[in-house]
Symmetry: C2
Subunit: 127 residues, 2 copies
C-alpha cells in the first residue's frame, strides 16, 4: 500500500537540522569571504565594492550583501538622494566574523606552499 514515508529525502536535511551551519556557509561562501574582507578596512558603495571584489555579478553581490545584512553582519545605509547612494559597512558583530574569516583566510594563504607540496606528493603516489 506504499505509504511513501520519505523521512528525509531532501538534499539539505543536514542544512536545516543545524541552523548555525547555514550562517557559517554565509560567511565562508565564495563572495561572503571577499565582501567581509573588503569591508574590514572601510565602508563601500555597491559598485565600488563590485569593482573592488572583482568578478562578482550584480546578482551575487546583491544576494551576498542581503544575506549578510539579514544575519546582522553588514549595515546598509541608503541615502534618499538622486542618484541613489548606498553605503555598506560592518556591524560590530560583523567585524568579529570578518576578523575570524580573515585570519583563517590568511592562515590558508600562508600554508599554501605546504598544501601544494602535499598535493604533489599525493599525485605522485597515484595518478
Amino acid at each position: 500500500m506504499e505509504v511513501s514515508v520519505e523521512v528525509s529525502p531532501g538534499p539539505d536535511v543536514n542544512r536545516a537540522e543545524c541552523p548555525s551551519r547555514l550562517v557559517l556557509e554565509h560567511v565562508t561562501s565564495r563572495w561572503g569571504v571577499l565582501v567581509l574582507a573588503a569591508l574590514r578596512e572601510r565602508s563601500y558603495r555597491f559598485s565600488e565594492l563590485r569593482r573592488h571584489v572583482g568578478g562578482v555579478s550584480e546578482k551575487m553581490l546583491a544576494q551576498t550583501l542581503q544575506t549578510l545584512e539579514r544575519d546582522g553582519f553588514v549595515h546598509r545605509a541608503a541615502q534618499p538622494v538622486i542618484p541613489p547612494r548606498v553605503d555598506y559597512s560592518l556591524t560590530p558583530m560583523g567585524r568579529e566574523v570578518a576578523e575570524q574569516v580573515w585570519a583563517l583566510s590568511r592562515w590558508v594563504e600562508d600554508k599554501l606552499g605546504d598544501v601544494v607540496t602535499a598535493r604533489e606528493a599525493y599525485d605522485a603516489a597515484r595518478g
Copy 2:
C-alpha cells in the same frame, strides 16, 4: 563545422585565479567542516565517520576525505586486510585548520541568538 572551443566561459573564473580560495572552500565546505570537527577528537574508520557525521552520502564523504587528504590535512591509513580497514586522522597541519574552523564554528553557534534576532528585525522591517 563547429570547433567548439570552450575556452572557459564557465562560472568559476574567479575560483582559479586565487588558489588559496580553493583550499578555503575545501575546509569550509559543507562536509569538510564536519569531518574536520569529528577527526579533531580521534581517528575514525570510513563507515564509522559516516555514521558519526550523519546525512552524508558515501560519495560525498569519500570525495571530501580525498580532497582533504590531497591537501595534506587528513592522513589515510589503509590496512591490507580482509575485510578492508581504513583509518582517517588529522595531520599536524590538519589539526591546525581543524582548530580554526572549529573556533569559527563555535563562534557562530554562540552568536546564533544574535543572528536570529537580527533576522527577525530585518524581516519585520520588510517582507
